[in-house]
């Protein structure tokens, strides 16, 4: 028999269950430290409900109760994680050098990373976006745009 056909597909429900167990127990154990008794009621109800629901999902997944779920496709997650890293660097850059300086770099790198080949277009979008933000947010809406240490 073909190995691929017999290979068991990992069920991501287990990850969800673990995540919800961790959260449920953190909230459950943190609840007694709330000083006022009335303020503990709702957290107790919700954290117990969370743990109970997670347990039901665990049992449902393990014993294959109910209708078979559609397979979950996490392909491409590595690219998504790369985008997360880029966004985090972008946030750090905005906090230090400001939005107007950080944005052209972020846009240039991310467009290039996502496969845009037209360098002129990349340049145009990278430079015109901060300008549009300045005109729209700064001048028209009078919103405070993060300036970073260069301008503040």
């Amino acid at each position: 028999m073909d190995d691929k056909s017999t290979k068991k597909i990992f069920n991501y429900n287990y990850i969800s269950v673990i995540f919800m167990y961790i959260l449920g127990f953190i909230f459950l154990f943190a609840t007694p430290s709330i000083k006022i008794a009335e303020a503990r009621l709702f957290p107790y109800i919700i954290s117990i409900l969370t743990i109970a629901s997670a347990t039901l999902l665990l049992l449902k997944t393990y014993y294959h109760w109910g209708k078979k779920e559609d397979p979950v496709d996490f392909s491409g997650t590595l690219s998504a994680l790369l985008m997360v890293v880029l966004l985090l660097v972008y946030i750090g850059a905005i906090a230090t050098i400001g939005f107007y300086l950080a944005t052209p770099f972020f846009l240039y790198i991310s467009m290039w990373m996502l496969g845009q080949k037209n360098i002129k277009l990349i340049f145009a979008v990278s430079l015109l976006t901060p300008l549009a933000v300045y005109l729209f947010f700064d001048l028209l809406l009078k919103l405070q745009i993060p300036q970073g240490f260069f301008f503040s």
Binding site: F42, K60, D70, V84, L87, G92, T129, K142, L143
Partner: protein, 503 residues
């Protein structure tokens, strides 16, 4: 409120700023609705930060315009490239795209536009006539009633899908857990802050919403490496205008679908797909040529368009009166209300009457933008769908981060949107419904407060809920909805047992 007063509010909102923001909201909504992969939810989430500096009335008008136009914008791509811009436009592909294949793409857009206008108008007029008297009913609600009404909103959404009900419940639990973080509104003491000062008050609403709806969408698009599906120029030929005779031929289906859409919109959780499905089925059954449905039948297309847009007005009825959002977009709309210091209920129609009636007028004006953008915007659609994802994704990412920064001027909020973006990405991939999370998060603090108020008044007795008819009825409705997905199974078991007993 008399007609003169209402007209007075209409005249009051006719300022340059309001009209400018109405136009901006309408155009942005139409573009975001038309882009495959984007939706009214993403549009609203992205747009809320832009409204920070605006008067609440202007903000509401532009958010209303986005809601209306994004719901309509999805029709365009559904008709022209068989790809619904939003899931709500799924039924539009049935008859819209076959018309495009026949070389009648523009005619299909014309029919869809006129019908969406009729549906939207009827939905908005229903909102105008039903919501204010209903809000007076809401004022009679005590804490138990308010608690159970809020719970009902969440229960309905959770129970929508039987197969995903457990996941929906977990999603709601996650939302409730997040809502409990920060200052307890009754006692004023912080809870579950874990030493993070930035969440001492609460986990901020806007970064969470931006993360769940916009950043998660950015990550999904990156992961899927989806190509842009541009509209073929050949699909945009002919005339978008339809004759009066053709319009009159569709009047029965348009009006019926608009009424169905409005009623279904008022029922929390039922949503656009249900309204479109019921209307389409009725139109098919009553048509002399039902076999042509799904093959480019104009009546079918008109029916779905009218029902889709009538839902918008209907869905705002429970939202503005009881604070129950019927779908994801109205949940975000509720978030927008809270951010601008407005709360649903009777006060919205009395103290904040100027804002809410301004919103109604904004919705009416937005319907006319459907006509303008729908009938004259055809050349733009082709250009809009040609925007490549590798340009769109970084731009949306950048706007999201900027939106988070300008919310409270804290880098922490930008980290929150990335965190919830990852959560949203996982939730989407794992087929966990996201709306219960958002609803529970938005309604969580208020729900807890009402429960505690009820218990305080009734001296901690849970049983007091059974002593009054209205809370008892609401509790029964909650249980009814919670068990509704299993009625079919229960009926099957009973029938099986009866058969076995009969042998």
């Amino acid at each position: 409120m008399d007609l003169l007063q209402f007209l007075h509010y209409g005249l009051e909102i006719l300022t340059f700023t309001n009209i400018l923001w109405l136009v901006i909201g309408a155009v942005v909504g139409a573009i975001l609705g038309a882009l495959p992969g984007m939706s009214a939810d993403t549009g609203l989430a992205l747009f809320i930060p832009l409204t920070f500096g605006l008067d609440p009335i202007t903000a509401l008008i532009s958010l209303g315009a986005i809601y209306v136009m994004a719901s309509y914008g999805g029709n365009i791509t559904a008709i022209l490239i068989n790809t619904p811009g939003t899931s709500d436009s799924f039924f539009m592909t049935f008859d819209g795209y076959p018309m495009t294949i026949r070389g009648e793409g523009l005619r299909a857009i014309g029919i869809s536009t006129i019908s969406a206008f009729i549906g939207g108008m009827i939905g908005t007029l229903a909102l105008l006539s039903v919501a204010p008297p209903l809000a007076h009913v809401a004022v009679k609600f005590g804490p138990w009633e308010l608690f159970l009404t809020r719970m009902l909103g969440i229960v309905i959404i959770v129970s929508l899908s039987k197969d995903k009900m457990l996941k929906g419940l977990l999603s709601a639990c996650l939302g409730f857990l997040c809502s409990m973080i920060g200052m307890d509104r009754v006692s004023g003491i912080p809870r579950f802050v874990f030493g993070i000062n930035q969440i001492y008050d609460e986990v901020p609403l806007l970064p969470v919403v931006l993360g769940l709806f916009a950043v998660s969408q950015v990550l999904t698009l990156v992961a899927e490496k989806s190509e842009t599906i541009a509209i073929d120029k050949s699909a945009i030929q002919g005339s978008v205008f339809i004759s009066f005779k053709d319009l009159m031929a569709m009047k029965v289906n348009n009006i019926r679908a608009s009424i169905i859409g409005t009623i279904v919109g008022i029922i929390p959780g039922a949503g656009t797909t249900v309204a479109a499905g019921i209307s389409y089925d009725l139109a098919k059954k009553t048509d002399p040529h039902p076999e042509t449905f799904g093959k480019g039948n104009e009546q079918g297309l008109a029916t779905v368009s009218a029902a889709n847009n009538a839902v918008v007005g209907g869905s705002l009825v429970p939202l503005l009166t009881f604070g129950i959002p019927g779908n994801g977009t109205s949940a975000l709309f509720l978030g927008g209300l809270y951010i601008h210091g407005l709360a649903p209920g009777i006060r919205l129609f009395t103290t904040n009457a100027e804002q809410v009636y301004g919103l109604f007028w904004g919705l009416i004006f937005a319907q006319f933008f459907i006509l303008i953008i729908g009938l004259y915007g055809a050349p733009i659609y082709e250009k809009v769908t040609r925007v490549e994802n590798n340009i769109l994704i970084p731009l949306i990412g950048s706007i999201c981060i900027l939106g988070a920064f300008i919310f409270r001027y804290q880098a922490f909020d930008a980290l929150v949107i990335v965190f919830f973006g990852i959560i949203g990405y996982y939730i989407n991939k794992e087929n966990i419904p996201i709306i219960p999370f958002v609803l529970a998060f938005i309604l969580g603090k208020g729900t807890e407060m009402q429960l505690r108020r009820a218990l305080l008044i009734m001296e901690g007795r849970f049983g007091s809920v059974f002593l009054r008819p209205l809370p008892l009825a609401l509790l029964a409705i909650n249980l009814l909805f919670l068990t509704s997905p299993f009625w079919g199974d229960i009926k099957k078991i009973i029938t099986k047992n009866k058969k076995l007993a009969g042998r």
